[in-house]
């Protein structure tokens, strides 16, 4: 479908509206992106937007009040009289000068602030990313003065492991689901309808109830810790959605296409491979994205079936961030690093969407 040409004014309104939505959608992510470049101390004490250029009161000097100053009575400094609480909030004594009481009543220290324009990017650092990529190289003092440094867990290996898990776990369910969707949509076999009902119902089964029985089987088959176990698990968990989505698509493909193929003597297998698969590419691509994202971001399944031997990205990040779940600076930069690949996949597959996931339904 070609773009329709709306009038100029309406296209501007449209653009502004979209811009508005897009900004609203992106601000949270942007916040984290900025945060991922900040030092851990700053993250907790000021908002991320403070890296943007803005006017801020900057401390230029400080001075000590006389020991005899009574903080509980009104205090007069540079001609202004106010209570301790007010001084603590800060008082503007002249156009470009602000005085603030530092700390509690015991300090008797006054800080002088002047308003200045802070440029972009004060206190930004790449260190968080370096830490994450090195896998959080750990060093500590062993008490007798030796610094023990552990080699960081290799983030690169984790990416490779993740790919070895994700790609087959994305392609295999697509293959199996496409065959099944075709069978459910266009073939007759006993029990077709009830089976399809059960299949759709399985969409809602929380995968957590399946973990223990599956693990028992994997233990019996000696599959624990292998990639095969991950493929099997993710394929199974992804199948209901895959079949549901693909069935919706395949069932609306025009019937005459198959019939003419059969008349030419093609077997269902050949028809499927030559006709159905290529025609379903938009649907396959969109499911591929969701399945890939889901597998890529999964932690629990990887933790249980794959364990520690072949760490995937999520477990590497979790292990590095460690028990101190509050390492915001590592969490944010790690989250961004792990986003790069899925986003690349999305952009790579985006062109397949253009023809439309359910385009076929219209022709039917």
């Amino acid at each position: 479908m070609k773009k329709t040409k709306p009038s100029k004014i309406s296209s501007i309104i449209l653009f502004i509206l979209l811009l508005f939505i897009a900004i609203g959608w992106t601000v949270p992510t942007l916040g984290v992106f900025v945060t991922s470049f900040r030092e851990s101390k700053d993250i907790y004490s000021s908002g991320w937007w403070s890296v943007l250029p803005h006017m801020e009161w900057v401390k230029t000097s400080e001075f000590q009040l006389a020991e005899a100053t009574d903080p509980n009575a009104p205090i007069t400094i540079e001609g202004h009289t106010a209570s301790f609480d007010e001084w603590r909030q800060g008082i503007k004594v002249s156009e470009n000068k602000r005085l603030r009481w530092y700390g509690n009543k015991r300090s008797r220290k006054i800080e002088v602030y002047e308003e200045k324009l802070l440029g972009f990017g004060a206190n930004l650092t790449m260190q968080n990313y370096v830490d994450v990529l090195q896998g959080g190289e750990i060093s500590f003092d062993d008490g007798s003065g030796n610094i023990i440094t552990r080699e960081g867990n290799n983030f690169g290996d984790a990416v490779i492991n993740s790919l070895a898990v994700c790609i087959p776990s994305t392609v295999i369910p697509i293959l199996i689901a496409a065959f099944a969707a075709y069978a459910f949509a266009w073939m007759d076999f006993p029990g077709r309808k009830p089976m399809f009902v059960i299949l759709v119902a399985l969409l809602v089964v929380p995968l957590q109830i399946a973990l223990i029985p599956i693990l028992r089987d994997f233990t019996a088959w000696n599959l624990n810790g292998t990639f095969v176990s991950m493929w099997l698990a993710h394929t199974s968990f992804g199948l209901p959605l895959a079949i549901y989505l693909l069935y919706n698509y395949v069932s609306t493909l025009p019937r005459d296409v198959f019939e003419s193929a059969y008349l030419d003597g093609a077997t269902p297998f050949v028809t499927f491979v030559r006709l159905v698969l290529p025609m379903s590419i938009p649907a396959l691509a969109s499911f591929a994205i969701f399945q890939f994202l889901w597998v890529w971001n999964d932690y629990l399944v990887a933790l249980i079936f794959l364990g520690d031997k072949n760490r995937v990205v999520t477990s590497a990040l979790a292990a590095m961030i460690g028990e101190k779940g509050q390492d915001w600076h590592l969490l944010t930069s790690g989250a961004f690093l792990s986003m790069i690949l899925p986003l690349t996949v999305f952009f790579a597959l985006q062109r397949f969407f253009v023809r439309g996931l359910l385009a076929g339904s219209i022709k039917g």
């Binding site: 479908m1 773009k3 709306p6 653009f15 509206l17 979209l18 939505i21 897009a22 959608w25 949270p28 992510t29 916040g31 984290v32 993250i43 907790y44 004490s45 991320w48 603590r88 290996d157 490779i160 295999i172 293959l175 689901a177 065959f179 073939m187 076999f189 006993p190 089976m195 009902v197 299949l199 119902a201 809602v204 089964v205 929380p206 957590q208 109830i209 223990i212 029985p213 292998t226 968990f237 079949i243 549901y244 609306t252 019937r255 269902p268 297998f269 994202l293 971001n297 990040l317 989250a335 792990s338 986003m339 986003l343 985006q350 023809r355 439309g356 996931l357 359910l358 219209i362 039917g364």
Partner: protein, 361 residues
């Protein structure tokens, strides 16, 4: 006659060879994969090729066998080859565990003492469960409708824009973020540091409120509203999904129909409601169903943000909590089964839709 016997026996030998080959590829590849751990890059490439290749090979071999069947049972054999692997996998990984849960839901936590409906009584009377049901209803109604409506609006609007790809990419962006990452992001949005001396809010929402002259709020503690703040996170994450699929459907609408409507003097709104919506209705149902079910199963957001406190608990979180933290297998299983039953109306509606579409054809 002799000819056919010969070709038959040749056929059998060929099939036999194929099966041997398949077994060899499967077993050999598996052993090889285990031995390749040291050369990571090769291992990964091999894993991908072998993993995907073996599945394709299996389908091909099975199909060859099915094609060799007598003509009478051939269609069923072929159907079995097509649907069989999915059915077997699902039966093994999801149906059996569900049945096991159904069984366990009638027993106490040791799994030995039959308690009949006690666990279900719990699931429908416990105050925490009642609260969760109420919240899940909010999630299902508002989460789903916001996702679908927003997704639809963005899809329609961006369809008319020059910067379509960019806008869509921005909306889609959150989908690529893990739940842990999303948790961090929204903690920064909703952060509240309390009231007192020298408080400096680092949460964006509170910073905006304060800048506008308001008072900082503890968003996640506000009764009932906090549910909506959590739902907003799901909408933020999932609208991209709705948008991508709906946008594809919109692009599938034949241009002639729209042109014809324009010729008849229809305006944009009329086109939207009279043509676009009816045309993509099946897609809307699909999207709504998947998001609805997703919102029913969702617990990560609640777990990360509030841990189910302050009146924000949901059923799936209570299931996870009882299954793993409290190790109350019976109750957890009952909750899972209840969850399953909750979707029956959705399923029935879906099947009706399928049937309708069939009869139209």
């Amino acid at each position: 006659m002799l000819e056919s016997v010969r070709s038959n026996s040749f056929q059998i030998v060929r099939l036999f060879a194929l099966v041997i080959l398949a077994v060899f590829v499967l077993v050999g590849g598996f052993i090889l994969l285990q031995n390749l751990q040291h050369v990571k890059m090769i291992m990964m490439v091999f894993a991908v090729i072998w993993g995907v290749g073996s599945v394709a090979l299996l389908f091909w071999v099975f199909n060859s066998i099915a094609q060799a069947m007598p003509r009478k049972i051939r269609p069923i054999a072929v159907a079995l080859v097509f649907a069989g692997p999915a059915i077997v996998l699902l039966a093994w990984a999801l149906v059996l565990p569900t049945l096991r849960s159904l069984w366990l839901s009638f027993f106490d936590d040791t799994g030995h003492q039959f308690v009949f409906l006690d666990n279900y009584t719990f699931a429908f009377t416990d105050p925490i469960m009642l609260e969760s049901f109420k919240n899940n209803l909010l999630w299902m109604v508002f989460g789903t409708s916001f996702c679908v409506i927003l997704g639809l609006i963005i899809a329609v609007l961006s369809d008319k824009s020059k910067f379509e790809k960019l806008f869509k990419a921005l909306i889609f962006l959150p989908m690529a973020i893990s739940f842990v990452g999303a948790g961090v992001i929204w903690k920064f949005m909703y952060s509240y540091k309390g009231e007192g001396i020298n408080i400096n809010e680092i949460g964006l929402l509170n910073a905006i409120v304060v800048a506008l002259g308001g008072k900082a709020q503890s968003w996640l503690l506000m009764p009932v509203w906090n549910n909506f703040f959590l739902i907003a996170i799901m909408v933020w994450l999932q609208t991209g999904y709705a948008m991508v699929i709906l946008s594809s459907a919109i692009k599938g609408i034949p241009l002639e129909i729209i042109e014809a409507a324009k010729m008849d003097g229809a305006n944009e709104f009329q086109i939207f409601f009279k043509i676009t919506i009816p045309f993509i209705m099946p897609t809307i149902v699909t999207v709504a169903t998947t998001i609805l079910i997703f919102s029913l199963k969702l617990f990560d957001i609640v777990r990360v943000m509030t841990g189910g406190n302050f009146g924000t608990n949901v059923i799936a979180n209570e299931f996870y909590q009882r299954q793993f933290t409290y190790r109350k297998t019976g109750q957890a299983s009952a909750i899972a089964i209840v969850l399953l039953i909750c979707t029956i109306p959705v399923l029935i509606y879906n099947l009706r839709q399928f049937r309708k579409r069939r009869t139209i054809k």
